[in-house]
């Protein structure tokens, strides 16, 4: 290994930093490795941190290094990510990865049809937000390598996201990562594919070919690492061109599970202001919904950026639902509950859905090919919609699992 410099650093320091650390490695001409650790949690975890650093020094065969660490209470996965990054900034050719143990709770899988009402964005280089994110109950958590990460810290976020996919329990939320715009995003894939990512969000998609490039690389990495689980894609449409090509994009891969729209970039592309009413983006949103439904996948709406305005969020979700969207992006954990409540079916929808589902189950039991309610015939898509309504009602606690009994009894 040839060092690119004799000194490199990684991570964050300062009085406002918490749950993170700063690492500096300086290579000397001779002498033993030396660790200077200043830690907010010295008494509780100072010894175990020093042990970890020694272990990592051995792993990376680091010699004659003076290591300075300012620890503001970083979790082990974060310390590992910061230290590995400092090593890799010193030795850009270093291919070795120091992987934290995979949390046994993180092996769960996803499905293409999973509910994706809410997806919570977490900035890729801010590990302090991770451990509690899943507690707020979002359907999906997005570790973001793209817009929320400074250009100079893309390498840092890759390691933080990789380690977090392995160590952090997201409590059943679908594990999503937003990669960078292609071609840079292709380089992100090796940090996520081997670590049970469920859905890859691909930003600023404007062609089917871009999806195919991601698919090819993902399949290659899956083969290399012996990954059997399906990994799905959610292309994000964020431009006029992308909008016009939405259907092509939607059918570009069998692994596409949804199309999402990103309105900040889209309105910039049109050269208009983004408004709360959203008149300027109505075409794009309708186009996207139609493209997604035509391709048999989900349509997912943009984020609502005013985290203080919960009523505005609620209205925006209700409007999105009306247009055919099935989910909304969240940038703050407090938005999750509001989104779920707003997407939840209304009382009269539930009453109707219960009747349809019961009629369907009754018909099935009797082996009838046709479902009817009173004198009306019920089509298969209507049954499917009713089943979905019941599922949403259950998830929102509007009915309980015994609803059939209550209905019949």
């Amino acid at each position: 290994m040839k060092p690119a410099a004799n000194k490199a650093n990684a991570g964050k320091s300062g009085p406002d930093v918490r749950s993170d650390c700063y690492v500096e490695i300086e290579l000397k001409k001779s002498g033993e490795n030396k660790i200077n650790l200043k830690s907010k949690v010295e008494i509780m975890y100072g010894d175990s941190t020093r042990k970890l650093i020694n272990e990592m020094c051995n792993f990376f065969e680091l010699k004659h290094a003076e290591i300075t660490i300012e620890d503001s209470g970083a979790l082990p996965g974060t310390i590992m990510a910061r230290f590995e990054l400092a090593v890799k900034r010193l030795f850009p050719d270093c291919e070795k990865e120091f992987l934290p143990e995979f949390n046994k709770n993180n092996y769960y899988k996803t499905t293409k049809e999973k509910l994706r009402r809410s997806r919570l964005y977490l900035p890729g280089n801010e590990p302090k937000f991770y451990p509690n994110a899943g507690l707020h109950g979002p359907d999906g958590i997005i570790l973001d390598l793209e817009d929320s990460v400074a250009v100079t810290e893309k390498d840092a976020a890759q390691l933080v996201v990789r380690n977090s996919l392995r160590t952090i329990d997201f409590y059943g939320a679908e594990r999503m990562v937003r990669i960078n715009q292609l071609p840079q995003g292709l380089d992100d894939l090796k940090y996520i594919v081997p670590h049970n990512v469920h859905v890859i969000l691909i930003p600023k998609v404007e062609s089917a070919d871009q999806i195919k490039q991601v698919e090819e690389k993902v399949l290659e990495l899956k083969k290399e690492h012996g990954i059997k689980n399906d990994i799905y894609f959610m292309p994000i449409i964020e431009s006029a061109l992308g909008t016009l090509k939405a259907y092509e994009i939607a059918i570009a891969s069998k692994f596409n599970c949804a199309l999402a729209i990103g309105l900040e970039d889209y309105t910039a592309d049109l050269g208009v202001q983004r408004t709360n009413e959203g008149t300027e983006s109505i075409f794009a949103r309708q186009m996207l919904v139609n493209a997604a439904k035509a391709a048999g996948i989900q349509a997912i709406d943009t984020v609502f950026s005013d985290v203080g305005d919960m009523e505005g969020l609620r209205a925006s979700v209700i409007e999105a639902k009306q247009l055919g969207f099935e989910g909304k992006g969240c940038i703050h954990p407090r938005q999750v509950k509001v989104v779920h409540e707003a997407i939840a079916p209304e009382e009269k929808e539930i009453v109707k859905a219960k009747k349809i589902v019961l009629a369907f189950e009754e018909a099935e039991k009797k082996g009838l090919g046709v479902v009817s309610l009173g004198t009306k015939m019920i089509d298969a898509p209507v049954v499917k919609r009713a089943q979905n309504t019941i599922k949403l009602a259950l998830l929102n606690g509007l009915i309980n699992n015994d609803w059939r009994k209550d209905e019949i009894g």
Binding site: R18, S19, K40, V41, E42, I43, M44, Y45, G46, D47, S48, S72, G73, A74, L75, P76, N103, K128, P131, N132, L135, H136, D169, H332, P333, R334, G397
Partner: protein, 518 residues
């Protein structure tokens, strides 16, 4: 120093600062007999007929009060971090060449780091009260001459009335007073609300000095401290910085995780059946507790439920509930913001209480056990539900007990706490310092779930079948260790040197704080 094991297995000294001590015996086990302490008999013949007890300055008052080496001087924390008077008091004592004072504050604040030099030069021998912030650090590192004694607000009253602590001179900061000594905290430039913490001192101290920056002609009415107990009145330029005495506005948390905890607490109130017409509760002024009160308020309005009383520390949020008719009374122990002070002054439903009525364990009952539920915090809780509020996991004293111990006697004691802070686990195997025995702590509510003390079968039954995230404390403990990378190492302490003791509400010793090896 000879250490003995007390009823919960903690090592405590049998003698502190030369006085014999009783180790903690268990809840309600220690039953002292005999009579309360007796204040001196005074005669009007020794006091001016015109009722004018004003003397020139603090030094004069201290001189007249007979200040001597080794005396016990008490002060009170109702001026909180804005307190200027206490620092001036010790500047004066120092200038008089007096040594070895036992300082007996009802609590200390970071502003009192000014007094560290007097602890170093021997003006102050030791502190009995609380050792917050810099004073905590100073004490824990073994720098104080004597052993610190930490008491709850109720325990402070108990220690005075039981004669464990004899106050030679009490110095009471009074935001408004008259020359006779009648005093109140609800008005004046340094208005702080109420003076309940100074009540015991005014009754039992040999000499009582009232210092005020708002002297009004007799009578100062309504009064909270009776002039009949006061020896001297001193006019000072300022008692303190009003902006640090009460905050303009108390802040509701914005942290999504704290808000989640607050929601769980309110849900628990509802689903465990605590929330019902005529109920009562107490919640502090921390950001999570304020958020809880607001969520609870929405539930009360939605379900048309009214409380009989709410125990303060009051804030504008409680005041709003009182004014909107959601509670008949606020029984207040201290006011945290200006709205609380205003309400106390104007609203007869906003009642001024003291540690005697609310918290004193050696009385014929107190208010704390009448309350349906309290919501408190803690720095650590262990898998046996023992909790700590005075030290951190690094072994350093950082907070006082306040009314926390006294509140544990409510019908349902809830600790609303994060399961870890940064990388510091809050749910641990064994707390650094026991401040409250687990048998009095019923429910732990964290962002990772709700743990109910297995002794509370009634509560476990009440929440069965609800959607509350009920877990065992052990489950939360293990989850936190998994996140933080293993259980935290314990601080290395010098087991031969006790730097402070934690008193239980009955005056027995619950636990010790040991010197940290630097």
């Amino acid at each position: 120093m000879k250490l003995v094991k007390n009823a919960i297995g903690r090592l405590v000294p049998s003698e502190v600062n030369g006085e014999k001590q009783t180790p903690y015996q268990g809840i309600g086990k220690h039953r002292p007999t005999g009579n309360k302490a007796k204040p001196q008999i005074s005669t009007c013949a020794d006091y001016p007929d015109d009722g004018n007890k004003v003397v020139k300055n603090l030094k004069e008052a201290l001189k007249k009060a007979g200040l001597k080496d080794g005396m016990t001087i008490s002060t009170h924390h109702h001026l909180r971090d804005g307190d200027v008077l206490t620092n001036q008091l010790f500047d004066t004592i120092k200038s008089m060449g007096i040594k070895n004072i036992r300082w007996f504050p009802s609590a200390s604040f970071p502003c009192h780091k000014h007094l560290i030099k007097y602890l170093e030069d021997g003006t102050i021998h030791h502190i009995e009260g609380s050792m917050n912030g810099p004073l905590g650090r100073f004490t824990t590192e073994g720098n104080m001459n004597g052993v610190g004694v930490l008491r709850s607000h109720g325990g402070r009253y108990q220690s005075v009335q039981d004669g464990e602590v004899h106050i030679d001179i009490a110095v009471i900061a009074a935001p408004t007073a008259d020359p006779f000594g009648n005093s109140t905290g609800d008005r004046g430039p340094a208005a702080c609300g109420l003076l309940g913490f100074a009540l015991a001192d005014s009754e039992y101290a040999d000499k009582v000095i009232v210092a005020t920056d708002n002297l009004v002609p007799f009578p100062c009415y309504p009064w909270q401290i009776q002039g009949n107990n006061v020896d001297y009145v001193v006019e000072v330029e300022t008692l303190g910085d009003p902006s640090k005495i009460v905050s303009g506005t108390t802040q509701v948390t914005k942290s999504p995780d704290r808000l989640l905890i607050a929601e769980y607490v309110a849900d628990f109130f509802e689903k465990a059946g605590i929330l019902k017409d005529g109920f009562s509760f107490q919640a502090g002024a921390g950001g999570t507790n304020l958020a809880f009160a607001l969520i609870l308020k929405e539930k009360m309005i939605a379900q048309n439920i009214k409380a009989r009383f709410i125990r303060g520390g009051s804030t504008k949020y409680l005041v709003e509930m009182l004014e909107e008719g959601l509670t008949d009374y606020i029984l207040d122990g201290q006011t945290f913001d200006l709205e609380g002070v205003r309400s106390m002054r104007e609203n007869p439903g906003h009642v001024n209480t003291s540690p005697f009525t609310s918290y004193n364990y050696h009385g014929k009952g107190n208010f704390a056990s009448i309350i349906d539920a309290v919501v408190l915090g803690a720095t650590e809780v262990d898998i046996n539900f023992n909790a700590n509020v005075v030290t951190h996991s690094d072994g350093y004293l950082l907070h006082g007990i306040g009314g926390w111990q006294n509140c544990l006697f409510s019908k349902c004691t809830i600790l609303a706490i994060p399961s870890f802070r940064d990388r510091i686990p809050v749910i641990v195997d064994e707390v650094t310092t026991v401040t409250g025995p687990g048998e009095l702590i019923d429910v732990i509510i964290t962002e990772r779930g709700i743990a109910i003390n297995p002794n509370r079968k009634d509560l476990l039954k009440a929440v069965k079948g609800t959607d509350l995230p009920i877990k065992t404390i052990k489950e939360i403990y293990e989850e936190v260790n998994q996140i933080c990378g293993g259980a935290p190492a314990k601080p290395k302490v010098n087991k031969d040197k006790v730097v402070a003791v934690i008193k239980w509400v009955d005056g027995t010793i619950l636990d010790s704080v040991f010197e940290i090896k630097k």
